[in-house]
């Protein structure tokens, strides 16, 4: 299992024991804490490579026609630099890579759409090198998918889980409605009955809401090892120095196969809210009824 990190910045990268770093592209990525642009593209890739880590580039937002020229220009740039994978949700990325014979591994990277092995196989047949598992499926479902597909699997193992993306500037519109100044700062929405709170932010033309579930799969790592190919650890909403420590704890267990009982407590203390296991042990309801064979 490779450790893939989504850091907020590249400080002390050589001290973080991860295999791959995910970097987003300004205006073409969602849920990615560290985004780059054309000016710092090459230097960033070099810096990551120098720290003995590989680079995944996430161009994972849904695109309109207006985004395509920017996407095309970045695909060329990616092709000319040492990038080991492109993460996408919009099939336009696949289409453009095929058209231009771009030979960089592609990974399907939609937060909620890979929930069964046949869809994973669909993308494998298209030549993809991996799929991100939905953050709302159970551990049993993950293991069942694993047993029925050879598609390399990615899953999020640490961090706030993604919950909502809208193509509306919901904060700006609301503040304009209230005639309040629009400032770039941290916002939270609160559901007033349950008092649950969620991070909300605008990402260029979109609005993103993160869940109040903060996943930590440390305690089930033995079950995931050899089943999951890439474990994602996200720093969204986590202090950089604490995130570094968390990654290194994960690495210790995964690389050295050590199981240190005290580590989980340390990870919990380093997290911004109390972590849980997301939907790994919680089945969602309102499923489809079984279609009976007659």
């Amino acid at each position: 299992m490779k450790i893939v990190i989504l850091p907020k910045n590249l400080n002390d990268l050589d001290k973080i024991k991860a295999d791959i770093v995910i970097v987003g592209i300004d205006k073409l990525s969602w849920y990615i804490p560290f985004v780059i642009n054309k000016r710092n593209f090459k230097s960033t890739i070099n810096l990551i490579n120098k720290s003995n880590k590989q680079v995944f580039i996430a161009v994972n937002k849904l695109m309109t026609n207006g985004d395509l020229s920017l996407l095309k220009s970045y695909l060329k740039l990616i092709n000319n630099n040492s990038v080991v994978g492109i993460l996408f949700d919009d099939p336009a990325v696949y289409q453009l890579c095929s058209k231009t014979d771009l030979n960089i591994p592609l990974i399907h990277f939609s937060s909620h759409l890979i929930t069964n092995y046949r869809t994973a196989d669909f993308w494998l047949k298209k030549g993809l090198n991996g799929v991100l598992l939905s953050t709302e499926i159970t551990l049993d479902e993950i293991l069942s998918i694993r047993s029925q597909t050879s598609t390399p699997l990615l899953m999020q193992g640490y961090g706030y889980l993604p919950m909502f993306v809208s193509h509306r500037n919901l904060i700006t519109s609301y503040l304009k409605f209230l005639k309040l100044p629009i400032k770039k700062q941290e916002y939270i929405i609160e559901e007033p009955v349950s008092k649950r709170k969620f991070n909300i932010y605008e990402n260029n033309k979109d609005t993103i809401i993160l869940s109040d579930y903060f996943i930590n799969v440390y305690s089930i790592l033995p079950k995931l090892n050899n089943k999951i190919d890439y474990l994602l650890l996200s720093s969204l909403g986590v202090e950089s120095n604490k995130f570094k420590k968390v990654v290194n704890y994960f690495s210790k267990v995964i690389k050295n196969k050590e199981e240190l009982k005290t580590i989980n407590d340390k990870i919990i203390k380093l997290s911004p809210i109390k972590p849980n296991e997301g939907f790994l042990f919680t089945k969602t309801i309102y499923k489809v009824k079984k279609y009976e064979k007659k």
Partner: protein, 401 residues
């Protein structure tokens, strides 16, 4: 009902009764969900036998039937999907509307007579993505509701796909398929038909120091969509299908919207660009939310969102549905839906009737006794009406032009 081959009015059918209403009022095609694999798990939906009946009814009227299989499948949902597809093919369903891409190859292998339409759940908004789906064997693409006029135009220009566009109804606040608020707040799986519409809830917005929602709650809720004013443009651009949202809406809503859009499409096809103001008024009254053009011309802003609570009006315009017409006594036999009384100004509309305005002179109950008002839902009553009315014509309160 005249059916048009150039463009299609595609109406939702929540059940067989609504399907008949949609076809009668002018839909060229209907979409419906089976009891399995559809994103409206709470709806009654159609058994396979009902789907067969739906196809027979629709095809007799030269209309088409599309079945939605738009959940995102989990492993446990896969078991009988092949058999289901084959049953749909046998039922002579025209097309299936799918979200999960693994279905494409399966349909080609196991039920190849079914046309494949790609659901709006894939949120396709650009021509390169559309080209990808075309290559996979998709015949029609249902664009994301975020598609602008420019996006629609380019996708049509650069692909050979049939393009279907949502023209009327509710909007999701999020990109379709990319919202799991329901999973986290109510444990109901939004991508398998359990969406509990959290985007219609009220929230408080905080910055680091303050609650900014002391006077007005924060909301994600968008107003509804209507592109009725742009039908001539959309036809000119080459949009194949105009989709009306709302498998769970009432028969009155369905009849009204299809009726109005049918007239508007016919006008547009006859190069008449003028929008019927009376029909706009009818649309405005029929919906329980305000309508906006949303993403069509520009990005939505504060005016396309709801902030002051739900602001959703309950609509009591629908007064009754015609069951029969007594030619001898020139009385219409009506099933009541909302309260009305003698002296009320009302109007009738129907598949062959644009609008007939009248005043209620008397009301008789089932025993032919005169009563002063129709108070009870589904009560059978009689009214004197001099013109011949047809079954499923509807009576509503009089809407001023």
């Amino acid at each position: 009902m005249k059916r048009n081959k150039q463009v299609e009015i595609l109406a939702p059918a929540g059940d067989l009764k609504k399907l008949k209403i949609a076809l009668q009022y002018g839909a060229d095609a209907v979409y419906l969900g089976g009891t399995e694999y559809s994103l409206r798990a709470n709806n009654i939906n159609f058994t396979i036998d009902e789907i067969k009946t739906a196809c027979l009814l629709a095809h007799k009227q030269k209309a088409k039937v599309y079945v939605v299989i738009n959940i995102i499948f989990h492993n446990e949902d896969l078991e009988n999907i092949e058999k289901y597809l084959q049953d749909l093919e046998k039922a002579k369903v025209d097309a299936v509307i799918i979200s999960d891409p693994f279905l494409i190859d399966l349909i080609k292998q196991k039920a190849s007579k079914l046309d494949i339409f790609l659901s709006t759940q894939q949120s396709t908004l650009n021509y390169e993505a559309a080209l990808f789906w075309e290559k996979q064997g998709v015949k029609r693409i249902i664009l994301g509701r975020e598609a602008s006029k420019k996006d629609i135009k380019q996708i049509i220009k650069k692909t050979s796909l049939e393009v279907e566009v949502f023209v009327h109804g509710a909007m999701c606040s999020a990109y379709s398929g990319r919202c799991v608020l329901s999973n986290y707040l109510t444990n109901r799986d939004s991508n398998r038909g359990g969406c509990s519409q959290i985007c219609r809830w009220n929230f408080l917005l905080h910055n680091q120091n303050n609650n900014l929602s002391k006077k007005v709650d924060f909301s994600l809720a968008p107003k509804d969509l209507s592109l009725i004013n742009y039908l001539p443009q959309l036809i000119k651009m080459g949009v194949k299908s105009f989709k009306i949202e709302g498998r769970m809406r009432s028969e009155y809503y369905l009849a009204t919207i299809v009726h109005v859009y049918r007239q508007a499409v016919e006008k547009a096809l006859n190069n008449n660009q003028k929008i019927d103001k009376f029909n706009l008024k009818v649309l405005e009254r029929c919906a329980n939310r305000e309508v906006k053009e949303q993403f069509y011309k520009t990005k939505p802003n504060k005016d396309t969102q709801y902030y002051l609570g739900r602001e959703e009006k309950s609509n009591q315009d629908f007064l009754g549905i015609v069951l029969d017409y007594d030619k001898k006594n020139k009385e219409v036999v009506l099933e009541q839906r909302n309260f009305f009384k003698v002296g009320d100004e009302v109007e009738f509309f129907g598949p062959s009737l644009k609008c007939y305005k009248t005043k209620i002179e008397y009301i008789k109950n089932e025993k032919h006794e005169k009563i002063d008002a129709a108070r009870h839902p589904q009560e059978i009553i009689r009214l004197p009406i001099p013109i011949l009315l047809e079954k499923n014509d509807m009576m509503r309160i009089r809407i001023e032009s």
